[in-house]
């Protein structure tokens, strides 16, 4: 993909903008205040992926799979327990690398619209100007002018909206403000955490179009987190599927949606309602109850709900292996010689 390089570019076109290696975060479980119990919520347990410049990578999974925690780890809003984040070739927080503050000037987050994503006591212009004024010492007048320009860019007329307050706006308008606020610091990458999940469908379509235009006009890179598979399919170039803190499958959007290889991905796709009357929603491949994130199953975490689970799945954690040109799956069935009875007999996209 031909993306014009930004002026802040360091690594060149071939360098992925973001590389995440083995990111881990465990939270002490509630009730373990005195550290009497060793219970930990394994929110993110060894997540690795990369995002190329100008790309949109979608992250999908059910609630509690760790997607939002991962987003916050990337921006160091939560401190990771282990792993590295490499932005345009420079390690974040590493000596000789890029500091967290500088990272945040290049990578911003758009939050899910909820009443609490915008400061109820501040005007829209104040909200958008806050970042540049406080983080980059931009003078107030200039920051407010820029805010006006950003409002236009996201489709809101500055003369009408700049002096309003969040409680006077609709959901779609607030989400545009969220985007404008994220863009105020002129980042190169945006993390969109369930950015359209709370919107009505028609508004959602408008916002998605806006995001697509912005990506094109500003040369942005996106990490798009959502539980809605339809939306992810529509916006992403690559997709990462998460389950209980781990990545189970990753690949180009076409590969994932047409040839899903991990049982979990297949189950997710099966459960998507379709507009096509000839495609009926079939019985789910999932069995068993969703396991407890505090004490996840040993080995492959999906095995308690997997129709194909075997003894090797409990003993050995499957690694994320490349099965075909950038398509990665973490499942013993896809790896010949892993010990699984169906290993090696299956091609990508089996049914």
């Amino acid at each position: 993909m031909n993306v014009p390089l930004s002026s802040d570019d360091r690594g060149g076109t071939a360098q992925p903008l973001l590389i995440v290696r083995d990111l881990k975060k465990h939270f002490p479980a509630k009730g373990s205040f005195w550290r009497l119990s060793r219970d930990k919520v394994q929110a993110v347990d060894g997540v690795s992926f990369s995002v190329a410049k100008g790309q949109t990578v979608g992250v999908v999974g059910e609630s509690g799979c760790g997607k939002s925690t991962t987003a916050r780890l990337l921006l160091h809003l939560i401190e990771p327990d282990a792993g590295e984040v490499i932005f345009d070739g420079e390690g974040v927080g590493a000596p000789g690398g890029i500091g967290v503050r500088d990272l945040r000037l290049q990578m911003q987050m758009v939050f899910q619209d909820s009443y609490s994503s915008l400061n109820p006591r501040a005007t829209i212009a104040d909200i958008i100007a806050f970042g540049p004024r406080m983080a980059k010492r931009v003078p107030s007048r200039q920051a407010h002018d820029r805010a006006g320009g950003l409002l236009e860019q996201v489709g809101l007329q500055p003369s009408l909206f700049a002096r309003r307050y969040p409680h006077e706006l609709s959901g779609g308008q607030r989400q545009r403000i969220n985007i404008a606020r994220a863009l105020a610091l002129e980042p190169r990458m945006l993390i969109l955490d369930e950015a359209v999940s709370a919107l009505d469908k028609s508004v959602e379509a408008q916002i998605l179009n806006l995001l697509a235009d912005l990506r094109r006009d500003l040369g942005l890179t996106y990490l798009f987190i959502s539980h809605d598979l339809n939306v992810v399919r529509h916006v992403s170039d690559r997709v990462v599927v998460m389950y209980l803190g781990r990545i189970v499958e990753a690949g180009d959007v076409g590969a994932i949606f047409r040839r899903p290889s991990h049982p979990y991905t297949q189950a997710l796709l099966r459960a998507m309602p379709s507009m096509d009357p000839d495609r009926r929603t079939e019985a789910s491949l999932l069995t068993g109850d969703p396991p407890n994130p505090i004490n996840p199953p040993s080995g492959c975490r999906f095995r308690t709900r997997c129709a194909f689970a075997e003894e090797v799945c409990a003993r050995v954690s499957p690694a994320l292996d490349d099965i075909a040109g950038g398509h990665q799956v973490a499942c013993h069935m896809m790896v010949p010689g892993s010990g699984h009875s169906r290993a090696g007999t299956i091609c990508a996209g089996h049914d």
């Binding site: 911003q108 009443y115 994503s117 501040a122 970042g131 406080m134 105020a184 379509a205 179009n209």
Partner: protein, 302 residues
Amino acid sequence: MADVSTILQPIILPDTSAGAEPRSYWSTVGERLVHDRITLAVGAMLLCVILLAIFAPWAATHDPLQGSVLRRLKPVGTPGFFLGTDEIGRDIWSRLVYGGRLSLICGVTPVALATLIGGTLGLVAGIGGRVVNMAIMRVVDVFYAFPSVLLAIAICGVIGAGIGNTMLSLMIVFTPPIVRVTESLTAQVKNRDFVEAARASAAPLHAIIRHQILPNVLGGMLVYATSLVGISIILSAGLSFLGLGVTPPNPEWGLMLNALRQAIFVNPIVAALPGLAIVLTSLCFNLLSDGLRSAMDIKLPS
């Protein structure tokens, strides 16, 4: 399947959902306050009390400290002393008016100081890490172990009477509750998305506190502090009543109440008057606090 999204093009949105003029949160609160009849009435009464206190030399009819044995305990309606005289013969109306100064000062000052100190501590406890929070809140817990009346009396009993000591002791009594309320508010605000967004924008901590956290905490603090003023007035009067607060011959409502206690057998109505003043003023502050809380509890449209 047709791609629905291509049908809808991004357009510059008209501002369909809001009124003509932008309305900030505080101006909305102000509007609601003004339309609340009870709050208006109470506010007016409070204003009267304050004005009387400020302009005491003009409002009083006599010297509050000068009495005459001949005029002891005259009843209400006596010509020239329309609210009667006290046990030393001093004019009650004048003493009430001057007493208003002392009572208001003793009511407002400790609360104001406690809000300053307690608010800061509460903010620090709310924002600081676990250790800081525990340290501050455990000390607050210890002070919470004393019922406030007990604490005020004990402190005053130890350091002595006098208006300065009274205010100091009340300030100590009110700081722990304010710390608790502020800490709780701060902890709630800290977790909201817009604060996280502010953190993600690489802004320095002091800017986040000043622009994001503080404006959202001040409202709750104000409501609570206002409700404390009423209590402060009653407590300071109580301390004077026990002989621990303002010392005679200063006119102070609690002191007057005590001095007139013996008079209830002679002239009961007169004995009750200072108490009435206390009730009215405290009532005004409490109603004001209630009105403020209602006005601030705006169910905003989503």
